[in-house]
């Protein structure tokens, strides 16, 4: 346990002190704060604009950071050979991968908490209390960001950072657009294409369930069961990806 925690702690410290990561966090805060400027133009829709823009920033910067950190998590250490003195110790490779991933989740948690606080403060300035619905939305965005990070980790365990980034971003876009795919499946008559699209539908992550912004701004209630189901989905899917990443990395040669 000590080895895992030490790896997690070092990954967190190494990332949070990285100037690029700090710049992204500051940029994210700046973008989130710009909601006040947008709200000034929105007259009677101020709360709606601040909420929508604030959640968008939380999600977009979180996903961006998850991809940037995730694809470099293993590859950077392989490229710079910093992992040689780590893996030549009595440490299992799964401990290393899991520790690194948990450290990355810590950095992503900082991003989510910072942007969530920024949103809460802006809403408070407008005299708007934090609703349970908003908290649920933030929680599900955090789960989605963690799932994207797990995808990035999975791809980076066997491919280059650029390809991993491309694959992860592609999956995120596809995962957010599953409704379009479902629509396409309903329209296709050719059996084999239908089966292929159906397979793809089940393989791709269903990220629409994590995007609650439209419901928050329209004040449409989200049952607790729906949130729990989405969280369970993210935990299961993410755990499977981390498990596969550990397996692939354990077999990898570090020449």
């Amino acid at each position: 346990m000590g080895k895992l925690l030490s790896t997690t702690s070092v990954t967190f410290r190494e990332s949070i002190r990285n100037r690029t990561v700090l710049a992204i966090l500051l940029l994210a805060l700046g973008f989130a704060a710009s909601a006040l400027v947008l709200a000034a133009m929105a007259q009677d829709q101020r709360v709606r604009v601040i909420t929508d823009w604030g959640l968008f920033c939380l999600s977009a910067f979180g996903v961006g950071l998850a991809i940037i950190l995730g694809v470099n998590l293993l590859q950077k250490e392989i490229g710079r050979k910093t992992l040689y003195v780590v893996l030549s110790r009595p440490l299992a490779r799964w401990q290393y991968v899991l520790g690194k991933f948990l450290g990355e989740l810590g950095v992503l948690a900082v991003e989510v908490v910072l942007l969530a606080l920024a949103l809460v403060v802006m809403l408070a300035c407008e005299g708007q209390p934090v609703s349970g619905l908003l908290l649920k939305a933030m929680l599900l965005y955090a789960a989605e960001i963690a799932l994207v990070a797990a995808w990035a980790l999975f791809f980076s365990s066997f491919s280059s950072p650029y390809l991993s980034g491309f694959f992860t971003l592609g999956l995120f876009v596809a995962g957010r657009s599953l409704e379009v795919l479902q629509h396409l499946i309903d329209k296709v008559a050719v059996p084999w294409i239908h089966a292929l699209l159906q397979g793809l539908f089940y393989l791709l992550p269903d990220l629409a369930a994590f995007n609650l912004a439209p419901r928050v701004v329209n004040d449409i209630a989200v049952p607790a069961g729906e949130v729990a189901a989405a969280l369970a989905y993210a935990t299961g899917y993410g755990s499977l990806l981390v498990f596969l990443s550990c397996l692939l990395f354990s077999r990898r040669e570090l020449a």
Partner: protein, 325 residues
């Protein structure tokens, strides 16, 4: 019952396959090697010979295609083997944003050392390798030589029985190299086994008790340093003032080679008998003899003899896939 060898490599083979055309690069061929506990062993060969590949198999960073590697009787694939060894990679790199103290504490935890123990051990080690324990600068601000010292400190953390050092003098200035040689000698005196690779043969000559030569992934010689060197040829050198003697045809049959060196002539001879004859002839001709030296064959001479004068660079093309050997 005999004690387990510190390192036992038998029939080790490794081929790298790269690219879409699946280009095969043979890095190791049937390598056999045994290092006894307490030895300072030089693993020598030109760049690209397969040294780093063999070392990476020993520390389980890569896997052999054939053969076996054991550390104190335990397979190198077994995590328990890594409790007995420390590894210093060639030109080591560490985390940019940690300081030396944080790095050593982390690596110590990975070696299974307790936090309280490390609180005392880390500053002592940093001091031992000539670094300031109070230095809070991130490692990205360290010079190559300082990083090499951090590398040695991380290797010494758990006080292992076996040190595997890949090109340990790389990146060090002359003072640093001397320090490293003294450190290796000190580890030897403490009864530790030191297995280090180098392509600079003079380094090995200064500190090793036994050496092995590897070329194109194959072991071409191994043995006690003094035995290997005494098997080599001895040469004599006579240095004479002026350059005329080198052109004297009556002396030509008495030496191997003559070359001008500034205002002097250096004669090279193969035996003591020749040396006596040439010396007498030179004195009879009124030449002023400046010096007479016996030259031992060096490891470098031995290596050139073993590879038959073949350019070592030719070997690197064969094993390029192992990267940075």
């Amino acid at each position: 019952m005999t004690a387990d060898a510190a390192i036992e490599i038998a029939g080790l083979g490794k081929t790298f396959i790269s690219g879409l055309r699946r280009r095969r690069t043979v890095a190791l061929r049937e390598l056999d090697l045994t290092v006894a506990p307490g030895e300072i062993f030089g693993f020598l060969g030109p760049n690209g010979a397969g040294k780093t590949t063999a070392i990476k198999i020993l520390v389980d960073l890569i896997r052999a295609d054939s053969g076996s590697a054991r550390i104190f009787g335990i397979s190198s694939r077994d995590r328990r083997a890594r409790r007995r060894l420390a590894y210093l990679p060639e030109l080591p790199n560490f985390y940019d944003y940690l300081n030396a103290r944080e790095l050593l504490q982390h690596l110590g935890r990975l070696s299974g050392l307790e936090h309280n123990f490390l609180r005392g051990r880390v500053p002592r080690l940093l001091e031992k390798v000539g670094l300031d324990p109070g230095d809070r600068r991130p490692l990205r601000k360290y010079s190559k030589g300082m990083l090499q010292r951090v590398g040695i400190a991380q290797a010494m953390l758990a006080d292992p029985d076996l040190y595997i050092l890949d090109e340990p003098m790389g990146g060090l200035d002359p003072l640093g190299r001397r320090w490293m040689k003294e450190l290796i000698a000190e580890l030897g005196r403490q009864g530790k086994t030191v297995f280090f690779s180098s392509h600079v043969l003079a380094e090995a000559e200064a500190v090793c008790s036994r050496v092995a030569f590897i070329h194109r992934g194959r072991l071409i010689a191994q043995g006690q340093l003094n035995e290997l060197l005494s098997g080599g040829r001895q040469e004599w050198e006579i240095v004479v003032a002026g350059t005329k003697a080198g052109n004297d045809p009556s002396l030509r049959q008495l030496y191997h080679q003559a070359r001008s060196s500034g205002s002097e002539t250096v004669f090279t001879l193969g035996s003591e008998h020749d040396q006596q004859r040439l010396l007498q002839a030179l004195l009879e001709k009124g030449q002023r003899v400046i010096s007479l030296n016996r030259r031992h064959a060096s490891l470098e001479d031995l290596f050139v003899r073993l590879v038959g004068g073949e350019s070592p660079a030719a070997g690197s093309g064969q094993v390029g896939g192992s990267g940075g050997n």
